[in-house]
Structure formats: C-alpha cells, structure tokens
C-alpha cells in the first residue's frame, strides 16, 4: 500500500494502520504515511485492531511468515491479498475456519468492470518487463543492432511464449530495447495483439485453445508434444526465450524440454515466468539460475518485487478499488454478495469456503 493509496482509503472515511517500516523497501518511508494521517503500529497491532487486513501475500502465498499471520487473524475480519486459494488449500481451509472473509486478489473476475482491481494483470505487467531486463542482463550480447567501426552487432532475437499480459509486456519491452521479437501463443486470437505491438507471430500448425475469461484451457499431452516439436525449430535461432504460459490453477505446461533447451544457441537465455508454477521449461528451478550446456535458464520468483515501488502502487490501487465496492458513504463495511466482483473474489466467508472451484478442489483433496 503506497502512501497515496492509504490517503485514498482515508478519503473513504476509513482509518488506516500500517506496520511500521512496511513501505521502506519499496521506497516509501514511514514519514510519508504518517504525514497523510496513517497510524503506524507493529504487525501484531495491525492484526489486533484492523477490521480489514490488507497484505500482498496472505498466508497461503507466504510460506515464511504465513503461519504466524494465520494465527493472528480474528473471526469477522476481512483479509485481502494474494493467497493462492486454488493450490494452498490447507491455508485456505484454515482461514475459513477462523471465520475470516478472505478476498483473494487472484480471483478477481476478468470482466471489464473489474479491470481496476485486477492485481494479477498489474503484477503480470511488471513481471513481463522485468523478465526482459533479466534476459538482457544475462545475455552475453547487446540487444539492439549497432553498426559501428568495430563491425556490426546483430540484434538479439527474442521469443515470447505465451502472450498474456506478461507476455505482451515482455514483447513491448524487448521491442523497445531493439530486439527482433517474435511470440507464440496457443490462442490464435492473440495474433493480432502480438502484431499490434510490432512483433511477429510464430505460426505453428496446431489449433487454438482459448478457454473462458481469457484464460487458456488445459490441453492434452499429444497436443503439447506436437507443439514442442514445432517450437524446437524456432527456438534454435533465439537469443532470449521468455516463457509465460500458464493455465489457471494447474501446473504450468512444459513448453521447452531439456532436449529443446540443449539445442539452443550457446549463450542463449531462457527466462521462465512460470517458474513458480513448475516452469514452462523442464530445466527451470524456481528461484535459481541454471546454466545447462551453455544455455542459461532463469527461474525468477516474485518478479514484481523487483520493482517494488511501482508494484506497490499498482497493487495498492487495485486493493483500494476493491475496497471501494465494500465501503459505503459513511465508511462502513458491507459485503454485497450480489456484486459479481465481490462474489468472484471472496473465497471464504462466515466460516465456509464460498468459492465453488476452491471448495470442489478441497473436496477432491479430502477424498484423495
């Protein structure tokens, strides 16, 4: 939450308590907050006193401090944050048990009206940008073309696999740096979007796979195999490959196998944005950089934290916009379950897991 976001909340007639020093890493000193009327306190104080607790990483998404936070939650409290409710099922169930109303930011429905709360898109934007920077820094070449007295440096070739929000941002950033950019996505509908950024769409000879709400749907293994074969040829010419392919709630598909990576140019780089979900490359190790036969595979986690200033700004705005839906003119909180956005985002409420997908998964988990 940036000072400005807190200010916006205060304008909504809410009182804001902030854990002291929480904004420091992102470049927001405590004074900025207190100057705007934010009360500072310890983490415990925050959990103790607040009706709404806003976190970036709620217990489900925070293996380190999540447990402690979980314990500090009080019934009737509202919790807002990323919480991976579809995978961190245990934490989610526990949050429900504690009687907390948990709004998981990743569940914001992908409808037009909810774009202002869509923190996934915000974070994906930053991730796409940062991925290119990582690629550029790692690559033993320069990105742009340069014709100099010491010879001509050819421009780097960048391939983006998966042109969702992050992928598109990666395309734009790589184009900016002067690379020759191409991109591929299973949803052939994004071809126009890729071209609208001046990049080339790589045509593989397999059919499209667009699911509901803009997310790609899960495809069968034969499909992925065919895709990999065709991709291998394209990969061999690239300097940087940025993979962003994801299918919501599942492990990321493997797009680049070990063999495919080995066939790439020595010195080339793979930046795998799906690292947190198992990676699009077989060799990816989340949080680590692997060099395999001359090819560097970077598996960054929590990329938005590399641009904490802007990430906080965007996330803060998203949360404020969500809270606006729950606060009436007098600053009182209400959870209006008729609102599509509220209903979609709310995972646990009044002691129960209310999101149908999550409860399905929970039941499946109990059965298994």
């Amino acid at each position: 939450m940036t000072p400005r976001a807190c200010e916006a909340l205060i304008k909504l007639k809410l009182e804001v308590i902030l854990e002291a020093g929480a904004g420091l890493d992102a470049g927001y000193p405590d004074e900025e907050y207190s100057r705007r009327g934010v009360r500072l306190g310890s983490r415990a104080q925050v959990f103790e006193e607040a009706a709404v607790v806003v976190q970036a990483r709620a217990p489900g998404a925070n293996p380190d401090g999540g447990g402690a936070d979980l314990a500090a939650l009080k019934p009737g409290q509202i919790l807002i944050g990323f919480g991976e409710p579809m995978t961190a099922l245990r934490e989610t169930a526990e949050i429900a048990q504690r009687g907390v109303s948990f709004f998981a930011m990743e569940m914001v429905p992908r409808i037009t009206r909810a774009q202002a709360m869509d923190a996934l898109s915000s974070m994906a934007s930053i991730a796409g940008y940062e991925a290119v920077l990582i690629g550029a820094v790692t690559l033993p070449k320069l990105m742009p073309m340069m014709m100099t007295a010491a010879g001509t440096l050819t421009p780097a070739k960048v391939l983006v696999l998966g042109a969702g929000v992050a992928g598109l941002q990666a395309i734009a950033t790589a184009k900016r740096l002067g690379a020759v950019v191409s991109a591929y996505d299973v949803r052939s509908a994004v071809r126009e979007q890729i071209e609208s950024l001046g990049a080339k769409f790589v045509v593989l000879d397999i059919e499209s796979a667009e699911g509901e709400g803009g997310y790609a749907k899960q495809m069968d293994e034969a499909y992925y195999r065919r895709q990999r074969e065709l991709l291998a040829a394209v990969l061999r010419e690239q300097d940087i490959v940025i993979t962003t392919a994801a299918v919501p709630g599942r492990k990321a598909p493997i797009l680049v196998t070990k063999e495919m990576a080995e066939a790439m140019l020595p010195g080339s780089v793979i930046v795998d944005l799906a690292a947190e979900r198992g990676g699009n490359c077989e060799l990816t190790q989340a949080g680590h950089t692997v060099v395999h036969q001359g090819v560097t595979i970077v598996g960054p986690v929590n990329l938005p934290s590399r641009a904490p200033y802007h990430a906080s700004q965007m996330y803060g705005t998203n949360v404020v916009n969500l809270l606006k839906l729950m606060v009436n003119k007098e600053g009182a909180l209400t959870i209006n379950l008729d609102d599509e956005v509220i209903r979609g985002t709310l995972v646990t409420h009044e002691g129960k897991v209310v999101n149908p997908k999550v409860s399905q998964l929970l039941e499946a988990g109990v059965n298994a």
């Binding site: 409808i111 037009t112 929000v165 941002q169 609208s196 001046g198």
Partner: protein
Amino acid sequence: MTLGVYQLLYIIAAGSFILALMWMSSPATARRGVLTGEAGMLLAVVGTLLRHEVVNYDWIVAGLVIGSAIGIPIAIWMPMTQVPQRTAISQACGALASALIGTAEYYRQKPHGFEMGALGLEMLLGFLTTTASVMAFGKLNEMLPSRPITFKGQNIVNLSLLGVAAAIVGYLVVHPEASFLFPIFVTLAAVFGILLIIPIGGADMPTVIALLNSYAGLSACSMGFALDNKLLIIAGALDGSSGFILSIIMCRAMNRSFTNVLFGGFGQLQTSAGGGKEARPVRSATPEEAAGILADARSVVVIPGYGMAVAQAQHKIRELHDVLTKRGVEVRFAIHPVAGRMPGHMNVLLAEADVPYDKLVEMEDINSDMGMTDVALIVGANDIVNPAALNDPGSPIAGMPILDAYKSRTIMIIKRGMSAGFAGIDNELYYMDKTLMLFGDAKSFVASLVKEISSNHD
C-alpha cells in the same frame, strides 16, 4: 498592317483571360485572377460595342441592363453552399446565348460549308448544354430525383440521337436552305442534353457542371469560327480545354471514374454494414472533410485504442499531431487505462512514435476538459468511449470509467467498419448527431488526413 482599336482591345482581353486562369490556379493569386478576368471581359464588351458593325445600341443596352439585373441578385443572395446550382443555372444562360446566336446566324445567312459546320457544332453544344445544365440544376436542388436513372439501351438511344443530329448538320452543310430540318435539330440537341444527365447521380453533378462548362466554351469557340472572331476562338478554346481538364481533375479528386461521369449511369451508393441488426444511419465523412474540420479546430483530443495498435498507426498519428500543432491547434492524447490489450499498450506505441510524454493525459484529467474540446478524434477505440458503461447498468462494461468523448463538440471516429470492440457491444456514440464516422484502416486514414492538412491547409 495596323490594328483597329477593337482588335487591340480583343488581344488584351485574350491575354487577360489567360492570366486569369494562370493566377487562378494558385490560392495566393486567385483573386487577382478573377479581377483580371473581369477586366478582360469588360474590354471584350467595350471593344465589341466600338466595332463599326454595331450600330443599334438600344436593344443591346437593354439586354445588358436586364442581364445584370438578373445576375447580380443571383450572385449576392445565392447561399455559398449552393455554388454548384448557381453555376449550373448560369451555365444554362450562357449556353442558351450561344445557341440563340447560332440560330440567329443560321436564319440570317443560311451559310454552307465550313461555316455551317461550325455553326452546327455551336448550336448542338449550345442547346445540349442548356438543357443539361437545367437538369443538373434540378438534380442539385433536389427538384428532380438526384439518384441516377438508367434504362436498358440508354447508350444506344443517346448515340443514335446524337447521330441523327450530326447527320442533320451534315445535310445542312450541303443544303443550308433546308430550314425545315432546323427545328428538328434543335429539339434533338435539347433532348440529348436531358438524356445525358438523367443517368448521372447527384454526387457527380459538380463534375458534370465542369464538363458542361467545357462544352459551353467549345460552343463559343465554334461561334468564333463561324463569326470569324478570334477572341471568341481563344476564350472558347481556353475555356473548353481548361474545363475539360478541370472536370477530369475533379473526378480524380473525388475518386470517381471520368468515363462514368462522361457516360453516366454508374453512380450507385454503397450500403452501410449494420450487420444483422436494423441498420441505423451514421454520418460518414471523407478525409478531405475531416481534415477541414481538424484544421479549423482550436483543440483536438486524440483517443487512441486497440485499432491504432492493430493498424500500427502510431507514427501517422504523431505526424497528425505535428501538422496540427504547427497550425496552432492544441492536440492532446487521452489515454484510457485499459485502451488496447495490455497495460500501457498505448504508451509503448506512442513512445515509439516519439509523442512527448507531456501530451499524454490521464482519463480523470482530460474528462473535465472534454466539454471544451472542439474535436475528439477517436482512433480505433471503441469500448473505452462507449457511454453504455455509464448509462446502461446491464451492459457488460457497466461501471468501467470511460473517456467522455461524447461531451466534445465534434466526434470523429476512425474505424474500419461498424464492428464491435473487445466487449462485443454496439456503441451509442456512433449514432450521435455530432459524430462523423471515418471509415478506413487507421493508418491509411490518418495518413490521408495528414496529407490533406499539410497540402491544402497552409
């Protein structure tokens, strides 16, 4: 080896007409051109009056006075928007004069040979132009149906009519005394003039009038041959050729085929693409028209959307910004938070095209200015300016903030057709009275705008 006064005046008059046309072909000297043309005409009239053949002034003076009495009001009170009509009716007068002079000359002399031929051509063109001009006037004034009327065998009928008229002239060349043929000839010429215009649509009328102009000039030129008058030959020939070229140029500028105008009958209208829904009328405009509005605006807000990205029109848009700014028009870019298909989509493209950051204005800031904006130019955007987001709670985009383009004084929307945007819904904005649809690919349409503004508005 000496010159009479009138001959000298004629020479000067001819020179004046040439200078008039020359100066008229550039905006900077155009008015000088008209004045010169007026002076030339005055000299021609004065010179003629001074000729010793002319002895009876009373009828002439009466004619001149009455003519002026008719002409001046027409010129002064005719609204500017009706210049083509005015020209048509004035044309009819001029051509009628020519035709009548031919008639008088025929009955006076019954000449034969070359002179009769010249006279015949003069009258043919004169009568034809008279009726054709009246028809054109009617179509332009919507007193006649302005849509093209065609019938089977039209061309054959027209051609045979013309053939018969020509044959009569041919016969008269040899037997000028066969005056019973003369009224038939006159009728044929007049009817031919009508038939010539019937199959041509109202939109082509200005071009047709330019062409009829050329005919009138040629008629005067033939008169010159018949009366042995050099000034008539020169002025007529100048007029004939320049009118002809002008009509060709106008055809090209209006994107229509010259042969079609010449032979008529192909002026069909395109039907708009309203999909399955009941088609609602929209107003569309050409690049020329849109350019005129933009060039005269004081403030323009450009609203780019996904269509700009698809068309990769960002560079052209920057050019548009440049030419307008150079003219003193204030141009700003209103960037909607979700314009395009990814966060910052417009930013990356406009930055690529080097649009200065300080020209990009956020939604909240620009919306308050929208009411004072002369033109909102929407380039390939749709959902982000759709008032349904504000007005229609049932709409899929209800609740999304929009750029309030609907508040601006004039709205121009560049898109390829009437299809919907990302949200798949129709847009009320398109049907507003102050909206002009500019149909075309964003890149090429903006390019035409730039070209038009930079070449014709400086």
